[in-house]
């Protein structure tokens, strides 16, 4: 965001004396939908409830209608150049070759290129800790997207007896399409090679070691969704729920399509388990959402309310 000092002499001269009016206009429209949201609404790429909100806003706001009119005149020249087109095709073909395969339960880099690209996330279940057993109360009822593997549900860490904590299932390893964007021999992909020891530890249940490796990788790859997500989940599995929140919040900010559902879910769980005051509100929001974890989130809210005399925690 630039301030008036960023204006050139021509702009300062033309806008002289209009500072108060500009400030008033800024205040008036500061809560208007973002450009990104208006653009998505224009392309019918918003979920129905959000789309309805934006449409209602547009009926009342000549300002936002003018923004949309302006956006319609832009962006016609967006295109992939030839190298990018080739690179994207390679990436797609590499991931596509993996689609029909059943992923191995062991981390092997060469197989991971194929097996993990679309190997899927785990169907989630909210488990209620009970003496001596755990019972699934809300298996994920949403249909699995293409390429999703059957559930591999591991027991969550046992909740401490002093306060109710939601249990959760360990997510299986998966990779985003971006992780596979590598030209040349797949086994030589440096990112996957560096991830391999972390996933080995993760799969072996050695979560302190996984945390150590993911911590190191997060300094090298601060915008890697795989690193941030599994760094957070490894912290949870190592018993450090509060330490999981930072990496998972960072993962959430990346808005990665492959991981978005899981990041939102595990962040909410980590917050609840660490006693964050607003964890229930986040779970309620997930419950209202038509996402794949909505049934589990609704069940989690019900369990929280049943376990606590003071809902809102």
């Amino acid at each position: 965001m630039s301030e008036p000092r960023d204006w050139d002499a021509d702009e300062r001269e033309a806008l002289e004396g209009l500072g108060d009016e500009l400030a008033a206009i800024r205040r008036k429209h500061q809560d208007a939908p973002s450009l990104e949201m208006l653009r998505a609404a224009e392309a019918d790429a918003l979920p129905p409830d959000l789309k309805a909100r934006v449409e209602r806003h547009l009926q009342d706001s000549a300002w936002s209608r003018a923004v949309v009119d302006g956006l319609r005149e832009t962006g016609a020249d967006d295109r992939l150049d030839a190298p990018s087109e080739d690179r994207l095709l390679e990436r797609i073909m590499r991931a596509a070759q993996a689609t029909p395969r059943t992923p191995s339960r062991r981390w092997v880099p060469a197989i991971a290129i194929g097996g993990l690209a679309l190997a899927a996330t785990v169907l989630m279940a909210v488990m209620v800790p009970r003496p001596g057993r755990e019972t699934a109360v809300a298996p994920n009822a949403a249909p699995a997207p293409p390429g999703v593997q059957p559930a591999i549900v591991d027991n969550a860490p046992i909740a401490k007896p002093d306060r109710f904590r939601l249990a959760y299932a360990k997510p299986d390893v998966k990779l985003s399409p971006s992780a596979l964007a590598w030209r040349g021999d797949a086994a030589a992909n440096p990112f996957l090679r560096e991830l391999a020891p972390a996933f080995e530890a993760y799969r072996a249940g050695d979560y302190p070691r996984a945390v150590a490796v993911f911590d190191r990788l997060s300094a090298v790859y601060p915008e890697s969704i795989e690193v941030l997500f599994y760094q957070g989940v490894s912290q949870m599995l190592a018993g450090n729920d509060a330490a999981a929140i930072g990496p998972l919040e960072a993962a959430s900010r990346l808005r990665n399509t492959t991981f978005a559902d899981d990041v939102a879910w595990y962040l909410a769980i980590a917050q609840q388990r660490s006693g964050t005051a607003n964890a229930r509100a986040r779970l309620v929001a997930l419950c209202r959402d038509p996402g794949v974890h909505a049934p589990a989130a609704c069940a989690a809210v019900a369990q929280l309310d049943a376990s606590s005399p003071a809902p809102g925690k």
Partner: protein, 156 residues
């Protein structure tokens, strides 16, 4: 038609559509990649005549997924905000000029809004709306020339 031919034929349209939604090349490439991955999986059951509409639908659905999660965060934030919303003040004369000023086209209005109300640099505007920085500068200069006339008239 084989997959690569379909990819070459439609990738620009799909990418352009993804960019029109996100304005971020990395996300647009992810969405494009996911759409063609879906096509690769379903290629035996897709009539090529359905393309590129089928691909655009995949992109649109993936984008909705992204927004759905952003909406969760917003809802979560809204839950924490006070509910009271003050009534919007009536438009000032400057706001009326931006919205209705004679001679301004929608692209001029948008550049003025982003530059002088949203406080963006010319480079940020260029990246945001997919035109060159030179074009942004030109649009702004034209708009300011009209503003000078309108402002002068108002002050008389």
């Amino acid at each position: 038609m084989d997959f690569e031919s379909l990819y070459r034929q439609h990738v620009q349209a799909v990418f352009r559509f993804a960019m029109s939604i996100t304005r971020r090349r990395d996300i647009a490439e992810d969405l494009t990649s996911e759409a063609f991955l879906a096509l690769h999986r379903e290629i035996d059951s897709i009539d090529p005549a359905q393309l590129p509409a089928w691909l655009l639908t995949v992109v649109r659905n993936r984008a909705r997924d992204l927004w759905r999660h952003q909406a969760i965060e917003e809802r979560y934030a809204i839950d924490k905000k006070p509910a009271a919303t003050p009534a919007a003040p009536p438009p000032s004369s400057l706001e009326e000029w931006i919205l209705e000023g004679a001679g301004l086209k929608p692209i001029h209005r948008l550049c003025v809004m982003l530059r002088y109300v949203s406080g963006m640099t010319r480079a940020e505007i260029a990246a945001e709306i997919g035109i060159s920085e030179t074009q942004v500068k030109g649009h702004l200069q034209y708009a300011l020339s009209l503003l000078r006339k309108a402002h002068g008239v108002r002050q008389v």
